[in-house]
Amino acid sequence: MKNLLIFICGVFFCISSNLVLSENKHNAKYYIQKSHDLQLSKDTVWQKLLHYELAAGFNQTLQSAIQNSDFFLSENGRTSLSDELEKTLYALFLVTNDADEKHAQCKFPARLQWLKKKLNILDTDLPKLKCQNFNDWTFSNSVQSISMIYASGFLGNPATFYGHTLLKLNSRRTTNQTKLMDQSINYGIVSPPDANAVSYIIKSLVGGYEGKLDTTSYNVHTRNYAEHELRDLWEYELNLNQDETDFIAKHLWELIGKRYTYYFFRKNCAYRLAEILEIVKGVETLPSNPVYILPRAILQKMSRSFHHGKPLIRSKIYHPSRQSRLYTKFSALTSTEQKNVRHIVTNINNFNSESYKSLPLDSKKNVSNTLLDYYKFTEKSEFLPIDISNKLYDKSLKERFKLGTKLKNIHSLKKLRAPDQGRLSSQIRLGILHNNKLGDGTSIHVRPAYYDVLDADSGHAKDSALAMGELKMVLIDNSIKMRQLDIVKIKSVNPNVTSLPGDNGRAWKFKLSLRQQNLECLDCLALRVESDYGYTARPSKNFLIGVFAGAGIQDNRNNSGNIFAKASFFSHIRISNSTNMRFLTELPEQLDGSGGGENRFLLEVRQILSKNIDMRFLIEKNYTNETSIALGYYF
């Protein structure tokens, strides 16, 4: 009887203890079953966390864009959402003697956060881990907001024509961190250092390179972009709550070192970083354009978006480049201060002139601060030999130290329009034309991106041009003919704001195009590539004149010859904030063939009608005269 009682008590104890265990401690299997019940692997957030997208090519299956096998816990993780979900849940619950850092909880904290929320996973069910590396990276989980950084375009490097974006994790300023030490995440092309320009361009267009996500302190980027490449930076802070901010920071941790196939036009830096932000439900960052994504278009999309009923962009901060700081400081100088800067520069840093000595202390500080920016700027333009430039900089630095700290009247930074505020990037233009030889017709002009010398906007290089795939057509006598296809067109002009030595108006052009040989022929398409080098001057703030000398090769059509040289003169005039114009004269000379090139004259006026609408009036002469007026719409 006694034994029976003990047996019954024992059985009861076992059952009750099992019940307590199952009530308070669920294991991976329990949550896997729950995930199946909820069909969680089909959730769009899970797909985004694994970066699933339609595979390239004809086989339109869903698979992850990430190529690293260590991003997946299941062997089929790249192609099976459900297998990866199951393995992830197993791994999150795994109790192991391995180092914490290798555990799924430390490697995939965003997956953990999301699964805990969706499956109501209790902390008590999971093994406790420290994840020290992640804590160090986030400065003890102190990320309080996320910013997208935009670096303006740099025409010296094809990979950065359209600007660049990166993400920054803004730590709480109560920690020992400042903005410059915040973590940043960059997606960049991985290319061999010896790749030549043509191979580089072609491979980056067709997916011949990989792109990789890396992390580094933000000051590395401010140094590279703002100081070395002289590119302005804009910071867009996102209006996300703490839970959403943590979610993105954790997912970025999962992605460090991960590789994708890089495509210059669409799946580029802007796309990859913007899609990461979209793991937060309701956040919209990607424009709907199926062909190409420009960094600036992402900013414009974000600035139009709302999240939780508030604008997605909380704040915008401008970080001027060394060049912009020089221009701002120089423009703010009094004429006497400017004269002193010019005198010191042209007299090899002579601070002993009576004019300089008689300046008030603050003026001297203004002058020496401007000189510091000037010498660092000219160092980049290689105007002076580096050792001379460094010596002159050192002399200005000593002078600045001598003058004491803090300027009373600090130059306020010039208020520039943020890149998202400008017009949209693509344009279609329709117009009517009269050609003295061909008669009346309609002009059709499509430019997928980006800008010309008349419509360069915020975030673009002023007085410069950048276009790819720009198509000009005419409809005459019920027949549509291609006038010109600019496959690549780049014109780079240094703004030359100070006119100090070294801040010169060096300019260059490159164009690869298919174009009619002149205005009177519609069946004379010829492929041509041309390059020019020149110089500009700015007699006044709104008036630029320049000269180019160049050469090119082309199809020999109608005895035009294959090689030509040309001189050109041009001018850009800004009449008002909404009206500007340009004038161009081209004087070509055929170097072979029997046909001589005909001079070309062009006058174009642009009138802004609204942010995304403009009107252009054009008079052109090349064999014959043509006049047109067109209405343009940016989209």
Binding site: N176, Q177, T178, K179, L180, M181, N219, V220, R223, E227, N369, L372, K376, N390, K391, D394, L397, K398, R400, F401, K402, G404, T405, K406, L407
Partner: protein, 155 residues
């Protein structure tokens, strides 16, 4: 005599704490690991690549020289030397604030540290060999001046 000994001892403790002679560019990081007996090669390696995140030290270096904080300070200085030295002349700026943050110098102490740093930097940039110094030597001069200023002002 007794007082003199105390003063001397105090001075030695101060000097050892602020590591005036410490050179993280040649004594720490990957460079020190690769070229333990060739300081210029170690410094060149560290300047070309970076100091690395691991506190590698050469055999002759004190542990403090290559602490994570000092390594971070040294790296930040060599990376941002121009901005730092210009802001030091100005007496304020984002890079200067960041440097003092890394070194844990806060509040009112910061202004004192900057005031102490300026005269040392004037000496540094006015020295005869400054013109011929490479980026590592220049950064080292700033590093030592900053360490000294922080030790004096921010304890």
């Amino acid at each position: 005599m007794h007082i003199n000994k105390i003063v001397l001892l105090g001075f030695l403790i101060f000097v050892s704490n602020v590591s005036i002679a410490a050179n993280p560019y040649s004594e720490c990081g990957i460079g020190a690991a690769m070229f333990p007996n060739t300081p210029w090669a170690a410094a060149t390696s560290n300047a070309t690549w970076d100091l690395g995140s691991t506190a590698v030290t050469s055999a002759t270096t004190s542990k403090d020289t290559c602490s994570a904080g000092n390594m971070q300070t040294a790296q930040f200085i060599i990376d941002n030397y121009d901005n730092l030295v210009e802001e030091t002349a100005e007496g304020q700026g984002e890079h200067l604030a960041t440097l003092l943050n890394i070194q844990g110098c806060k509040g009112q102490n910061r202004q004192r540290a900057i005031q102490n740093l300026r005269p040392d930097m004037v000496k540094h940039i006015s020295s005869e060999d400054y013109v011929s110094q490479n980026s590592v030597d220049r950064a080292l001069g700033y590093y030592q001046a900053a360490q000294s200023a922080v030790a004096t002002s921010c304890s």
